[in-house]
Subunit: 495 residues, 2 copies
């Protein structure tokens, strides 16, 4: 059964004094009004971590009660920072099954009331335990990916900086015109360069902000002008270091493949997209993973103006997570609300795109390991679906064969990538230098270095000495003494 | 599209040293083996509060990774203590939509590693904030309901005690034969009476225990011997005091009505049931709400042996939450695993029921406000479905019209029900006396009483004096002084 959208709504994103359920009720009320409904058959609601951000559980019930809809089923759905998109997908199947006619999808998060170090710690709980215990945060891992990206595609750090600044500038410029956006200010390269370093080489302007907000969509089995054409959802390893590639996300690629196949659309059919730019580089990687641009070339679209608001393939016309804001659970659904506004021609004079018949949203859960891709389309586009159709999209999805060999506790390794983290989570001192080190056995381990105070002293691809201290891997400069110690250890033992 | 079950699995419930994901992987692995599958199209997994019990978020991803199923969609579903049943329902729609063929439903919780006061506090977060701030816990509210039940149906507290003991004795007796049960010991009335008071009049043996455990089911679109016949899901007000009745749950009744209607079955067709006996009385209320027995008469079925293992309508042949244990997120799915074992004739010589073609599970989320009813059936029963069929089940579902009049801060009220709580959550002194007081305006408020040390001093239906202290309602004995103060306040003011 086909599924359509009959109403959308969202709150202004930013800092709110309202409790979470009130924000979500505000978004729901707009969506219900648009759909001309007073009741729905069920509520599916996405929040990432209402338990720790707000201190409540059983939130789905509270929401139904707040909305005056007590009685109907209400279910909470969570896929980390893609929970809004996850709730949408779940509701999609409920309607597609024919068991439900009208379903309210709601998403939200309240985050700004907590100290930043606490929020950082809560968000870090989505990271694999073995990486989180080193103090790794989302920005830390994103920074390590950014350095790796520069190295893999031969970009100088100066060039990388320029690319990332361009993403921030573009998205702030788009957000300037979005009445729902948290930040409505134009920023310059100078502003970007002045913003504080969060996790080298990522600055504050590379990271989506901490935000309160809510979004809502009504799904229905009755035909409306907006159709849900394709949905894909995929996971990746919990630990980033267990992946074959650090510079693209399998989870986006597998999700996109499913979404394109269901929609019978090619990447080239997509006219605009909302891409999960929790970090500036992730927008670029996202557009590569979605098949819009070849790997390592996504940034050229920025330079050529392709991904700009008036470009051929506008990316994040809403301002993205960067400027609209990122209430983690709400973002995935807010992307879809933006797409609906664009498809309906209601995005406002400044932001309304000329070509807006097919829009795609890509939402990332965790550090690229619970991702969803959703394609919405104007229902007045006439097309014929063909059995066995497959898209012109052939992403390389490589998986690391899990190694169960425990790496040696001391030895020489290669520093694959690293970061110096300045905004550490609760319980960790700043700055904190973290790296991925490839051991001689070929396994990659997370390691910290308590000595390096400046990231300029380190170089990717260089040999380091790896040891363990209090159950953690520590890497340090490869001294003559270390080399000797290592050489002696490797000698066969004489009895 | 019809949905079937092709595999089930569960861990032994109890105290486990394994991390949660390992327990869930163990359950999943049995289910996958039974279904002869190595891969599925998606995972839906129910946990109630992995954030606070375990300290992780993004758990759906971790699970896919742990299972070696990285890549496929993995979604966490939460409906408080019915999350296992909620995940099952969500997965049901995914398969029923035709978009998925084989789906793994997983549920689990790890709770025993924390101090009891902390666990109690975490579980209490599922309670409405306005009731939770008084220190109300699940046992406290259940105890208030138990007292009300006794009063409404003219049972002496001695009689109530005897009834509740019988539920505990029956379920422990069933659990004795269940290899998956946390408690495999026969208990006597004497044991029951010796068990400590948790929340007057409920004792430790009235409350489901704190448990670690996991359960798994594979849903499939291919015909198998076990069919999912009906599913219903409904919510109720977040606050217990906002309900028209304290002695039955609308959410069970509305969910049951949907499930019976979908399955085209009457309550009298059900041959056995797993009922959410988080508290002994809730089993009795559950069997009334499900239409098995008239309101206030569920306990007679116990006395007549109807709900016993060899009775006409066995309730909780597994031992129920009471004896099998209650890892909150896992219980709703574990009930369904038990039903599958019974339908297949695999429950073991001692527990296997003679009539086991149609089984029903009722799972409660929160304090009776996010409930699911699921009916499973042997697929070899031939029957014809009729359009517009409606069940012989007409529950009374009454809703309180929300009053927005703020009750007076001081005045005379009626003590509707109360409890003295001995196992208080983190941050509250024990004992703690809590009650629902009906104000002269007809509104019911939660109130505490710091003075009463023994519940024997209080009587339901008696007048009390209500005042506010530090933003909380406090009730106390109605003294002559209070009466006078109240009378003076009520006099019209002279200028």
């Amino acid at each position: 059964m086909d599924v359509y959208i009959s109403g959308v709504g969202m709150t202004k994103f930013g800092r709110s004094k309202d409790p979470l359920e009130k924000m979500m009720a505000e978004a729901a009320s707009s969506a219900l009004k648009e759909a001309q409904l007073e009741k729905v058959d069920a509520i599916y609601m996405g929040v990432m971590n209402v338990e720790e951000f707000v201190g409540d559980s059983n939130f789905a019930t509270l929401l139904a009660d707040t909305l005056g809809l007590t009685g109907i089923p209400s279910t909470r759905v969570e896929t980390a920072s893609s929970s809004g998109a996850g709730a949408f997908e779940t509701a999609f199947y409920a309607v597609a099954s024919g068991h439900m006619k009208h379903v309210l999808v709601l998403a939200g998060e309240k985050m700004t009331h907590l100290p930043t170090a606490k929020t950082t710690r809560i968000l870090s709980e989505a990271i694999d335990r073995s990486e989180r215990r080193y103090g790794a945060t989302m920005p830390a891992l994103a920074a390590m990916i950014a350095q790796k990206y520069a190295r893999e595609f031969n970009l100088s750090l100066l060039k990388l900086e320029d690319i990332l600044a361009q993403v921030a500038i573009k998205n702030h410029s788009n957000g300037y015109f979005n009445v729902y956006a948290q930040f409505r200010k134009i920023i310059t390269k100078e502003d970007y360069l002045k913003s504080q370093m969060v996790a080298y080489p990522l600055r504050l302007y590379d990271c989506a902000p901490i935000t309160d907000g809510a979004s809502a969509i009504i799904l229905t089995s009755q035909s409306t002008p907006i159709k849900v054409s394709g949905i894909g959802h995929a996971t990746d390893t919990a630990a980033v270091r267990h992946r074959a590639s650090f510079t693209s996300f399998n989870s986006t690629k597998e999700a996109a493949l499913k979404a394109y196949t269901m929609a019978q659309l090619n990447p080239s059919d997509v006219q605009f997209a909302e891409v999960h730019d929790a970090f500036t580089l992730f927008e670029i990687i996202g557009t590569e993973d979605l098949g819009f641009f070849p790997p390592g070339e996504g940034w050229k679209a920025l330079e050529k103006g392709i991904s700009h608001l008036r470009g051929k393939l506008p990316i994040n016309p809403s301002g993205g997570l960067k400027a609209r804001g990122h209430p983690v659970g709400a973002s995935g659904l807010a992307q879809l609300v933006e797409i609906v506004y664009q498809l309906r021609g209601e995005a406002g004079r400044e932001r309304q795109l000329e070509r807006a018949e097919i829009g795609l949203a890509q939402s990332t859960g965790g550090l690229g390991n619970n991702n969803l891709v959703t394609i919405l389309e104007r229902n007045d586009r006439k097309r014929i679906m063909t059995e066995g159709w497959s898209p012109d999209y052939h992403p390389s999805i490589s998986v690391l064969k899990k190694s169960y060999v425990s790496p040696p506790s001391e030895g020489i390794g290669i520093l694959e990538t690293f970061t110096t983290l300045y905004a550490t989570p609760e319980g960790f001192l700043s700055p904190l230098t973290l790296g991925f080190v490839k051991t001689e056995g070929g396994e990659i381990v997370m390691a910290c270095n308590p000595d390096y105070r400046s990231p300029k002293e380190l170089k990717m691809g260089k040999k380091v000495y790896l040891k363990t201290r209090e159950g953690l891997y520590v890497f340090e400069k490869l001294t003559l003494w270390n080399r000797l110690k290592h050489w002696f250890k490797k000698q066969p033992k004489n009895n």
